[in-house]
């Protein structure tokens, strides 16, 4: 009798539109967030922060960005890593070339906005072309980004290959000096990432349950009907590109600043785009929370599998063999999941919740 909607009668339309209509969900979310903010930084080791939590937050932002475009608005994209690249490089350059008062979150917002505008430019062909052909245009964005930053070393401050991101870029309103805390520590980086990701996820959630989100989905489901009921189809597509690429840009900045600690072009090769597409599909296209479920699964599973493989067969087989078998097993699992539930983890979770709600008397 814990997980029930009973007793939560809808008394107003605002109430019906709440983020968490079931009180249990609301409390679970609150406890989860409090845990993430106040407990995790103190109990998690640097390894857990640096190699698990922070990369998941960075990847998740990019997966969410892609999901807004592909899952919500139905515009396919293979340019995710390219847009992350723009976001990361612009953030670095804004930090490098601005006066003292500039700070990292603001730089990310600015860089994300520029990335959004670039996204609009590469999204222009979507006015005329649909589906797989659009992949060509977003692929162009991917290669353009790599080419651009290779051709203009100015943006990498003339470093060869990579540049280490300086610690003082992490200071926020002089908090570090005033309170004598290390703003470039993993704890601080984790908290900054968590704050940014939470804000972006909330914004996306609000957007998707209002008129703009419905316009996105209408364009995805049937653009002729959308234009007939008065939805500005072209503007909606362009907005989806802007918002999506904004998220990808911020994701790229987090990826470099919070996770890798260095900025380089090779980080944003094509395979990164595929990886993030994978996360969005497995998590569930069209689901905000799904973007993060997918990220956790795709990021953690290979690690878990090679670890389990190592543990079980250590010595018996060659490490490379174990590694490959782990990868194959993982691939089969993913395929099985998608065959059983094309809606990904988010749909799986929704079904489970539905069952829980009617348990033990399903009808």
């Amino acid at each position: 009798m814990i997980y029930r909607e009973t007793g939560t009668f809808i008394t107003s339309y605002l109430e019906d539109r709440k983020l968490f209509p079931i009180p249990f969900d609301k409390w679970a979310m609150a406890v989860f967030m409090l845990f993430m903010i106040f407990v995790v930084p103190f109990i998690a080791s640097d390894y857990w922060l640096a190699a698990h939590l922070i990369p998941i937050l960075a990847y998740g932002t990019a997966a969410l960005g892609l999901n807004l475009l592909t899952g919500m608005t139905g515009q396919l994209s293979l340019g995710t890593a390219g847009f992350m690249c723009f976001g990361a490089f612009f953030t670095f350059n804004i930090m490098l070339r601005s006066p003292e008062w500039m700070n990292l979150p603001l730089a990310m917002v600015l860089a994300g906005s520029v990335t959004g505008v670039i996204g609009i430019i590469f999204g222009l062909p979507s006015i005329r072309i649909k589906g797989f052909y659009l992949l060509v245009s977003t692929l162009a964005a991917q290669y353009f980004a790599l080419w651009f930053f290779r051709s203009y070393p100015y943006f990498l401050n003339y470093a060869t290959a990579t540049v280490t991101l300086p610690d003082h870029h992490f200071d926020l309103f002089g908090i570090g000096e005033t309170f004598d805390v290390d703003m470039a520590s993993f704890e601080a980086k984790y908290l900054m990432s968590l704050g940014i990701v939470t804000a972006l996820a909330l914004f996306a959630k609000n957007l998707m349950r209002s008129a703009t989100g419905r316009n996105f989905m209408a364009v995805r489901d049937m653009d002729i009907a959308a234009s007939v009921i008065g939805i500005p189809v072209i503007r909606t597509k362009m907005l989806a590109f802007f918002v999506s690429c904004f998220y990808c840009g911020v994701g790229g900045a987090l990826f470099c600043y919070a996770y890798l600690q260095v900025l380089g072009i090779r980080t944003f090769e094509m395979n990164r785009s595929f990886e993030i597409l994978f996360m969005a599909i497995i998590g569930g296209l069209g689901s905000i929370a799904g973007s993060f479920y997918g990220t956790v699964l795709v990021y953690e599973f290979p690690i878990l599998f090679s670890w389990a493989g190592d543990y079980l067969f250590k010595g018996a087989f060659d490490t490379a063999v174990v590694d490959n078998v782990a990868k194959i097993t993982y691939g089969i699992l993913i395929i099985a999941l998608l065959i059983r539930e094309p809606g990904g983890l988010a749909a799986l979770w929704a079904t489970a919740k539905q069952k829980l709600r009617t348990w033990p008397f399903p009808h």
């Binding site: 008129a211 489901d221 002729i224």
Partner: protein, 258 residues
């Protein structure tokens, strides 16, 4: 509803697809406040006519004048803004969304808040959601859709989907409503409901209705005005009684048993 001045004038419309002439020099007027039925055998050009009226197709020749404005070359969205709404022959619902979300999209032209306000969920954006929800609830009640608000439209039976689509069109508060075969594939009971809705919409809100329908008894019952198309040409235009007694129409259409 008493017929008034022409609200829609179709003037000599010709529409060609490759070698096929879908519409050949069609002209007729629709009076303000009437229910106008467009009938004709399959492939006569009825759906193409609606598509020309609300800007999905641009005719090679002729003019469409709605509320005194030439809208032949306007985009569907602009025509929607002039107060025209429609439903589709093959259901134009957004299959990935719930009934409530689908109907809410019908209010898209009333939205004034920006996407930033909506993302931040502040002031105007919140107010508009409540206002639009209220308008949607009125239509939900009117069309008896209360039990299925949160159902994904893809899970609904055909008849109900048609009704949800009508709700989405109505919630925009249109002055003119185009319905493409709203009753095809429905049972008798559902057909009765649908024709009652058309009459009620027409009477209560004064909405002018143009509808395509095959069932002659329904057409004779509810329409003030009937236009008959056959192979892209207009072969009849008048009151239901006039059309019923028109020899061309009898030959081309009414004589044919379905």
């Amino acid at each position: 509803m008493a017929a008034g001045n022409p609200i829609l004038q179709i003037d000599n419309i010709t529409l060609v697809f490759g070698g096929v002439t879908a519409l050949n020099g069609i002209s007729f007027d629709v009076a303000e406040g009437e229910i106008c039925a467009v009938i004709g055998p399959n492939g006569a050009g009825k759906s193409s006519m609606l598509n020309v009226i609300n800007g999905v197709y641009v005719p090679q020749e002729g003019r469409v004048v709605f509320k005194g404005q030439d809208c032949t070359r306007m985009r569907p969205r602009q025509i929607a803004q002039l107060g025209m709404a429609r439903t589709f022959q093959n259901i134009g619902l957004f299959q990935g969304m719930t009934v409530l979300e689908n109907i809410l999209t019908g209010r898209c032209m009333k939205i004034r808040s920006t996407w930033l306000e909506q993302g931040l969920n502040i002031g105007r954006a919140r107010r508009e959601e409540v206002e639009n929800r209220r308008a949607v609830e009125e239509v939900i009640e009117f069309l008896h859709l209360q039990g299925i608000r949160k159902t994904p439209v893809g899970k609904l039976p055909y008849g109900l989907q048609k009704r949800v689509e009508l709700a989405r069109a109505l919630v925009a508060e249109p002055t003119m409503l185009l319905q493409d075969e709203p009753m095809t594939g429905m049972n008798l009971e559902e057909k009765k409901d649908m024709s009652c809705f058309a009459l009620e919409i027409n009477r209560e809100y004064g909405t002018t209705i143009v509808l395509i329908e095959h069932d002659m008894s329904v057409v004779m019952d509810i329409s003030d005005h009937v236009v008959v198309l056959d192979y892209g040409a207009k072969i009849g235009d008048g009151t239901p009684d006039e059309v019923k007694n028109n020899q061309d129409v009898i030959d081309a259409y009414l004589g044919v048993t379905h």
